[in-house]
């Protein structure tokens, strides 16, 4: 199947462009002839990202979103597809050239505890990337202090150690380390999900400031749909290794086309009592499947509410699947990309749009009705 096209609204050379990117992990057994089929962690993913833009990637555990981030950084080797950074194909770069590329592509990790060396002072943590990349020619103390100031750390913090800081401050240290090389692109893997809510906002606001100052591109990977909506210009939704929907933020949140996106949005409770209790919820069947044993046809069909609605409506041909009758097209055929306009694309046989939009989809994502 062709991956959904991703027409970019503003044209020109994207900062990052990914075409048909895939990663299959082979499980190495003791006896190699018993080797399994492998895990298709990321499957034919395509998107692009401009300078100064944030592409949010949402998905649940096992959706492949973290593997996608690591592929972009070439921390894991892609099995197929191309990655272009500033127009240059970096898919097949040698290790030495990858290292040079990484000056411009940096990563921020989820865990501000595990990702900092406890034996290094803050000053050395921030200086280390410059030393590694041969940019340390003495007298760079200035630069260390400048970066620390940029992320809201004080000069006197430079001689302290990570354990002396709270989670939020540690995340600032991680951001300072990433910013030390003046990158063009940041891959952020759940950068605020380990932080308390009062600190999340500090870090989100800081990231936004840094982005505006340096025209940074952000690949922002997270499971929190409200956080992703807040930070992103465009959003990609992943399910079992595929991007099932991608589009400009407002369109995707206001009128999601893929039943999985609808289900995700419907599961997020909002903190306004009348609105929350007045909402309908889509109940998903079961849990996310496993990438080792992918369902046939559409990967989402075993859990999809829309497939069940469709199976009950006239004129839809159905087949028996796991004890239920589901539309045969969902069970047997890969869904095609559906273009919702303006770069909003979903892969689904029965997308939620136009006259085919189910009532439950409308009510489930109606966040602002109710209390008014």
């Amino acid at each position: 199947m062709k991956p959904p096209a991703d027409p970019r609204p503003n044209g020109g050379e994207p900062l990052l462009s990914v075409e048909g990117l895939s990663k299959t992990f082979q499980d190495r057994q003791l006896f190699s002839r018993f080797r399994g089929a492998g895990v298709r962690a990321v499957d034919s993913v395509s998107f692009s990202l401009d300078a100064g833009e944030t592409l949010g990637v949402v998905g649940e555990t096992g959706s492949g979103k973290s593997t996608l981030g690591r592929l972009v950084l070439r921390l894991v080797e892609p099995s197929a597809g191309r990655i272009l950074f500033n127009g240059e194909d970096i898919t097949a770069l040698s290790q030495r050239r990858i290292r040079r590329m990484r000056q411009q592509v940096q990563m921020i990790f989820q865990d501000p505890y595990g990702s900092l060396d406890p034996r290094m002072s803050v000053g050395s943590i921030v200086a280390e990337p410059m030393i590694v990349h041969g940019l340390w020619h003495g007298g760079r103390d200035e630069r260390v202090l400048e970066v620390m100031r940029q992320v809201g750390l004080q000069a006197e913090h430079r001689n302290r150690y990570p354990h002396e800081f709270s989670g939020g401050q540690r995340q600032r240290i991680g951001i300072a380390r990433a910013m030390a090389l003046q990158p063009k692109l940041l891959v952020l893997d759940e950068p605020v999900s380990a932080l308390d809510v009062s600190i999340q906002a500090q870090i989100i606001n800081l990231l936004r400031e840094l982005q505006q100052q340096a025209d940074l591109g952000f690949l922002f990977i997270a499971h929190d749909l409200a956080v992703v909506r807040h930070v992103s210009n465009r959003v990609a939704v992943m399910y079992l290794g595929e991007i099932v929907e991608i589009g400009p933020r407002d369109g995707l949140y206001a009128s999601p086309m893929h039943p999985y996106t609808v289900s995700l949005l419907s599961a997020v409770p909002v903190p306004t009592v009348d609105r929350e209790r007045g909402r309908d919820r889509v109940v998903l069947h079961g849990e996310i499947g496993s990438a080792t044993d992918l369902p046939s046809g559409c990967r989402f069909h075993p859990r999809c509410y829309k497939a069940r609605l469709k199976a009950a409506s006239p004129g839809v041909e159905t087949v028996e699947s796991q004890g239920e009758r589901l539309p045969s097209i969902c069970v047997q055929h890969q869904p095609p990309p559906v273009d919702g306009g303006g770069g909003h694309v979903a892969i689904c046989h029965f997308p939620e749009r136009g006259e085919d939009r189910s009532q439950v989809a409308g009510r489930a994502v109606e966040f602002s009705k109710g209390a008014g």
Binding site: T61, V197, I199, A201, S263, L264, P271, T272, V273
Partner: protein, 337 residues
């Protein structure tokens, strides 16, 4: 004030202290609340606010060297703060059960879930192994585990995170407790699974008439599932109110700040996030006055806020309490806006 008649669990003036190099640190400071049968109380707060420690104190499970140094705990009308260790063991599980955040570490990896459930059931009842197994199957079915006959002999690693959490809930309700304390029961789970687990808890609460405590940091879950809410900061309850009237018309600046600092799907996408200034409080070095004063948008620099630690007091209603003496300013600002 907080005590309502017929409360299944009532706590008054609970204090828990940990020794430290800098002197004793009070992790639970004069906490009071009550819980009715069939009621859900949400306890909201950030890490270190004392929300988990409060309920470990109620169950007398505070890890040493911590110690409960004061307070009354009444369960079904009887004082349990002074019970013997063995009498307390009977209350835990059969009277008050707790479900923890991380469903992987709460289960023993080398025993099947059936072994672990039977151990709990038989420790608290006189059931034979056969009866206990029947009970285990019954509750596994009740928490909607598919094919419980097969699942009961699985090891924890064979189950998904959501299924493990269902097993823990099944263990917690196997003894038909009167109170279920759910400590961040879905924080480690995906959002669609979270919705399933919370729907399950709400369903069980209704069927079994349990009082439920939902410890969480997610204000959306509070809006959806709770009847009342208590907000904790630095070991104290700083605000408590019924959800229907009080949630969203908060009378404490900390609660207000929490609402302003989270991105919300029910507000425009470009809403600015107002971060709470400064860092979370260091319990060993709390200010003499209001513990939130150093980060407060309202109290900043006020003489009385810095000198005196305000008590939780009634506001416009004696069901809506706030530990901020300036709560009227919040309401006035709202009326003016």
């Amino acid at each position: 004030m907080l005590m309502s008649d017929g409360a299944v669990l009532a706590v008054r003036g609970l204090h828990t202290v940990f020794p430290s190099e800098a002197g004793p640190v009070t992790t639970v400071d004069n906490v009071s609340f009550s819980l009715g049968a069939g009621e859900t109380l949400a306890v909201v707060g950030e890490s270190g606010s004392g929300k988990t420690m409060t309920f470990l104190s109620v169950l007398r499970l505070v890890p040493p060297p911590g110690r409960v140094t004061g307070g009354e705990v009444t369960f079904e009308g009887a004082d349990i703060a002074t019970l013997s260790a063995s009498a307390m063991r009977r209350i835990r599980g059969a009277g008050i059960a707790m479900v923890f955040q991380d469903p992987l570490t709460a289960l023993n990896p080398v025993f099947t879930i059936g072994d672990q459930m039977l151990e709990v059931i038989r420790a608290h009842t006189a059931m034979s192994p056969r009866q206990a197994r029947a009970r285990a199957l019954e509750v596994l079915e009740r928490v909607h585990i598919p094919a419980p006959q097969q699942r009961i002999d699985d090891y924890p690693h064979q189950l998904s995170g959501g299924m493990r959490q269902r097993v823990l809930i099944a263990m917690a309700i196997a003894l038909r407790p009167k109170v279920l304390i759910a400590d961040e029961p879905t924080t480690a789970l995906d959002v669609t699974v979270q919705a399933q687990i919370l729907e399950l808890l709400a369903e069980l609460r209704g069927e079994l008439g349990m009082g439920m405590v939902l410890i969480t940091h997610d204000l959306g879950l509070v809006a959806k599932y709770a009847d009342r809410v208590a907000v904790m900061y630095a070991g104290r309850v700083v605000e408590t109110s019924p959800i229907a009237q009080g949630f969203g018309q908060s009378r404490h600046p900390y609660t207000r700040s929490l609402f302003r600092s989270i991105p919300r799907l029910d507000l425009p996408a470009d809403q600015p996030l107002t971060a709470i200034a400064g860092q979370p409080p260091d319990l060993a070095r709390l200010p003499a006055g209001c513990t939130f004063e150093p980060r407060c948008f309202l109290g900043n620099g006020r003489e009385d806020c810095r000198n005196e630690r305000p008590a939780l007091s009634p506001t416009t209603s004696d069901r809506h309490l706030s530990a901020c003496p300036h709560w009227r300013t919040l309401l006035d600002a709202e009326a003016g806006a």
